[in-house]
Symmetry: C2
Subunit: 701 residues, 2 copies
């Protein structure tokens, strides 16, 4: 027992506290399940009445049990749980699985009870799964522990599965069995008072029989820790997550379900993406993906070959391959020639390879072997539609035989046949994922490709730039001393400059004459922006004047600005004006920081200008950003095409754009009090391609 969770997941002796003889109670079902599944350790039912339960002697209390006990499954009423834990401690039990409900999920009283439970668990040095959970399962043949009251007896396989929702977890176990997907271990974390998804991830990292991890989550308890762990584990095995509560309405429902704050979904999205977790949006997809990882190696590339005996599904599969951003393999001339040598004239030897309806078993075999041998093919989809005299199960077995001989490339089957086929085939050993619909198969392959890309992706590191931290600390203190939260434009740009962001050349001026002098120094044409402590939305009051070509014009504009402010009675707040270089650009980007109450600061990047709110072409990544994260972030938005240089414009210095994001990340990591930060616009100079912060806004918490 080298890991603290071993006592729960690999116990030599289990006590079921609250075991019962009354049918259709959890205490009865659980005992039955443990026995029926053939738990290899010692099993002790505990019930105050004693007697016999499921043929075993029942103990009035754990303290009456003679031998040592590693883990107790607790199904007693919530009000007896604390006392039960005390007894477990006395008995020397280290692992608890508290199935009982009536804790945090039921309101304030329950939350208090849960806090007391946790306090005891910590004090006694125990680990606890639950409360309000479905139980745990370990299908290892040496253990065969099904301490869970789901309907199905679990099937052995390679999945480690964590579910936050109890009932749903049970539903999922049912479905997995129907789909022929087995699992290694299952933990229903329930209210996750102690053991949570991160613990499971960490535990399964080095368990060889857990080949992939599936997570159903409604909230992520410790995002930073999750990120650290998941980033590591995803390089060893695929981690798939279904995170519910995406919409505001869904999040509100989730919160009343488990009492946990969901955080914004875009933050969760960023977290999962940056950690290499494959996020699924429906159970259907989660299972589809699990099935494909269960049976396929990772491909070497993204080139898909489709072989089919019917044109229509071949076309639909092709559409799907393109939809998912993968490529249709170009078959070599040699491959085509081989195919031509045995396929009829009406067949198409181009990808998708249409063997036509009359294709016999032999054509399936030879075609599949031929395309597998083509170096230009990374993955294969084999489609079958019923045709006179050709049995679906025969085709399926032929495909599986070929797969045995060629295990190096993923092969999936699309069998648009009767449901019976799937029932029939699942009676034997299934080594290829079979789907009813082409798009499901492509979806699966796309996930393999996603995992491949993650494995090939640079791991990334958090770069530390030389910055002037003290200057920023000084500015922030001054702002706070001033009783403000919002920095002025000048202060904001100063902060950015201190962190090495290229801000446009600018001079501050307090009067018309100072402004004229500043403009001469910066060089015409210039932009004049007012800076005020009372107004942050400058454009609304005509506080930005662009393309000022001469000193004469500058002076006129300055006088006009003062007149306008005075007219509106807001001249008092005016600190002065900033005279900036006029950046010639028609490419306005935006970057910034938004702090999520649950996940912390996120770096934002995308299309700026008037289009920010309309286009919503922005991406997010959680700070701290690695260089790989910054690389991905700038490429995640449509605006990236603008950086590459649209017609007639100079390509942007993309490395410098990434650096800007990394520097912002460093800033908000150093100064956690930054609540909001916007560089809008971040302009790409038409002449030099530099990314220049033209305007900035910072707000402190």
């Amino acid at each position: 027992m080298s890991h603290s969770l071993d006592c729960i997941m690999k116990p030599n002796a289990v006590a079921v506290i609250g075991a019962s003889t009354k049918p259709h109670t959890i205490g009865s079902d659980l005992m039955k399940r443990l026995i029926e599944y053939g738990y290899k350790g010692k099993l002790y039912p505990v019930n105050p009445k004693g007697g016999e339960i499921e043929g075993l002697k029942a103990y009035p209390s754990v303290l009456n049990i003679e031998g040592p006990v590693d883990m107790a499954v607790v199904v007693v009423n919530a009000k007896y749980v604390l006392a039960t834990i005390d007894q477990c401690h006395e008995k020397g039990i280290k692992g608890l699985v508290v199935i009982s409900a009536g804790f945090k999920e039921s309101g304030e009283e329950g939350a208090k009870l849960e806090a007391e439970l946790l306090e005891r668990v910590r004090r006694y040095g125990m680990r606890c799964v639950g409360p309000n959970c479905l139980g745990v399962v370990n299908t290892h043949p040496d253990l065969r522990m099904d301490a869970c009251f789901a309907e199905s007896l679990p099937m052995r396989g390679g999945i480690g599965f964590v579910s936050q929702s109890g009932a749903l977890g049970g539903g999922i176990l049912n479905i997995l069995q129907d789909l022929g997907i087995g699992f290694a271990q299952f933990i229903s974390i329930g209210n996750q008072a102690d053991v949570n998804a991160e613990d499971a991830l960490e535990y399964w990292e080095d368990q060889d029989d857990v080949k992939q991890v599936l997570l159903y989550m409604e909230s992520i308890k410790d995002p930073a820790n999750f990120r650290k762990l998941a980033t590591r584990v995803t390089r060893k095995k695929p981690v798939l997550a279904l995170k519910a509560g995406r919409s505001a309405a869904g999040a509100s429902a989730a919160s009343s379900h488990t009492g946990s704050l969901a955080g914004s979904d875009r933050a969760a999205e960023a977290l999962l993406r940056q950690s290499g977790v494959i996020r699924e949006y429906s159970l259907k997809q989660l299972f589809s993906t699990a099935k494909v990882f269960d049976n396929c190696p990772l491909p070497k590339g993204d080139r898909v070959c489709i072989i089919t005996n019917s044109g229509g599904p071949g076309i639909m599969a092709t559409d799907s391959v393109i939809d998912y951003g993968m490529r249709m393999a170009e078959l070599s001339e040699a491959t085509k020639e081989t195919l031509r040598s045995f396929l009829p004239a009406a067949a198409s030897v181009k990808n998708p390879v249409d063997m036509i309806a009359s294709a016999p078993l032999e054509h399936y075999r030879r075609t599949l072997e031929t395309v597998l041998a083509d170096d230009g093919v990374d993955m294969v989809i084999s489609i079958y539609l019923p045709f006179l005299g050709l049995k679906d199960t025969d085709v399926a077995h032929t495909l599986m035989d070929i797969k045995e001989a060629h295990p190096e490339k993923p092969i999936v089957g699309v069998f648009m046949t009767k449901n019976e086929f799937f029932t029939e085939i699942s009676k034997g050993r299934v080594t290829i994922p079979f789907y009813m619909y082409a798009e499901e198969a492509v979806d699966g392959l796309a996930r393999l490709n996603m995992q491949r890309k993650w494995m090939e992706r640079d791991e990334g590191r958090v770069v530390q730039f030389e910055v002037d931290k003290e200057r920023v600390a000084g500015i922030f203190s001054a702002v706070r001393a001033d009783g403000r939260k919002e920095l002025t434009t000048r202060e904001s740009l100063d902060v950015l400059e201190a962190y090495g962001v290229r801000v446009c050349r600018a001079k501050f001026a307090r009067s018309e004459d100072e402004a004229a002098a500043a403009a001469r120094e910066v060089g015409f044409p210039v932009v004049m922006k007012m800076t005020s402590k009372s107004t942050s939305h400058k454009t609304d009051v005509g506080g930005v004047r662009v393309n000022i070509g001469s000193e004469e014009e500058l002076r006129a504009q300055y006088r006009d600005l003062v007149a306008k402010l005075s007219e509106r009675g807001i001249l008092d707040g005016l600190e002065g004006v900033i005279i900036q270089e006029m950046v010639k650009s028609n490419r306005e980007l935006v970057c910034g920081v938004a702090a999520d109450p649950q996940y912390g600061p996120m770096i934002m990047f995308g299309t700026g200008g008037v289009f920010v709110e309309v286009m919503k072409d922005v991406g997010f990544a959680l700070a701290p950003l690695t260089d790989a994260d910054a690389h991905d972030l700038v490429r995640s938005v449509k605006a990236f095409k603008l950086l590459e240089g649209a017609r007639g414009t100079k390509p942007a210095d993309i490395a410098r754009v990434e650096e800007t994001l990394l520097r912002l990340s460093q800033l908000v990591t150093d100064f956690t009090e930054v609540q909001e930060l916007d560089i809008n616009p971040l302009m790409i100079s038409n002449t030099t391609g530099e990314a220049i912060a033209v305007d900035g806004r910072i707000k402190l918490a």
Copy 2:
């Protein structure tokens, strides 16, 4: 026989030409199928050898048959088909179903044969389904005709189903039966030499037993006719289409499959949308939608209520409802109070209503009845997860009982239980769509809502504006006389103006002095644009000068332009310059026309400026546009938010934007030679909100 297709779909006597006794041939399977399904009319096998087939006397030729024959199913080798048709004509047969392959799909020879086939069909006044098809089915109890060699015997129901792909059609019939979805009629149109999807649509428009139409298409033969028919039929019954060949790769595969040009997918998309056809992107979704239309009335609104015995799936369903743009119903206080009166304290009476895991049958019944009675609820999703002692089938029957009593609102079930449930339940009568996953159920409801919105949508009409058609004809002739295809900017704007598009005030000038005079007339500030017969991309040569504030500046700019052109040696093409009013706007839209070779001209509208190509925020609609189409088109793009008025900008005159699109539609309908037309930018004035065409470009075919 009032409709020309009656002889094929409702024949009193059928001859099977090529009927056979040889097992596993189409000629044998087809005979078996017709007999097994119990065809109520007279059946005549035809085979040169005579004898007996399936217990019926076989005739050496149709000419030997004594009684009248309405329809012949032809399964002879392609080379005998023409002679067979001649005989059918002689016999007085009006309907043909040609299953034989070896026509257009097999190359040039076959295409010639198909042309001859069609010529005969037309000459003889026959109708013909196929060639290269799977056959036809009519499940009407008075007819029971299964003249189709698919695997399954068809189930009676309300679907009319047309398939362009033969084998796929067969696959679909299988799946429909598995899903418990029956159909009324099926036509496998194959190469659609004569009968195509439009014919089927028209035929089914008034057939009461066809409640919904499903189309699988790889191409649309006559888009204009399809649009006319579909627009009419979709107001009477739902029409669902799966159009394959969306991607370029898919379209290319489709073309080698049926030899038909697919046309661009965005044109197909527009066509289906404007016709009220519900487009599906996967078979899975097609069936899911068919199932929900089969069992549910249309809702009165888009407010969904979810009731569940497990929080997790309730949250996922909520996320889905929001994803699909529907609303979560707000339950009334009275409803909540009723729910509270019988649900346990731990339940949540807010939508999603969580009855918690222990909910007995009685809670399902009362909860469903209570929320159905709430006027704020338009549709209900009822979720069940297995729980101790509560049987899935019992819950399902309870839901169906309640549905009988409350047929006015759609109810769907999500049963996250074992596959067996679906098999079990389908043995009896199923009156509620049951799904395994929440998102599938929501998907179905979203389609009901889509159909509701289409039924409520204004039918729209094609408006005719007073325009100066002659002026445009004159300009086009002049351009052609000049040997050009591209119009100059001046000509383009003149054309737009003749069709009543608001173009910005402008004057043409051939010299510096004329330019100065023009500018005085238009009023400073102005924009100066060169207009040239040799260069259409003006910005690339510095041919656009904006914000010219004075005559002095104008003269300097003019001289500079001439110098630049002369330097590049392209001064010759210069016609002069256009002096335009300077439209103050930071909202640049684009609209135009793109002609699809297959579908004809499409009107395009969206975000303009440098963002056109990057953002791809453009929508398309096929001309001629109805006013309802224009209304929908401007609202289909993100740029619509710009029209509504972003921060500080004046809302656009949206009616006028729609009118601009309608006028463009009239232009390209009147002048089909317009190949391309762009108004980029169409600027929204910051001061007046007018939509002003600032630049235009027209290209003729």
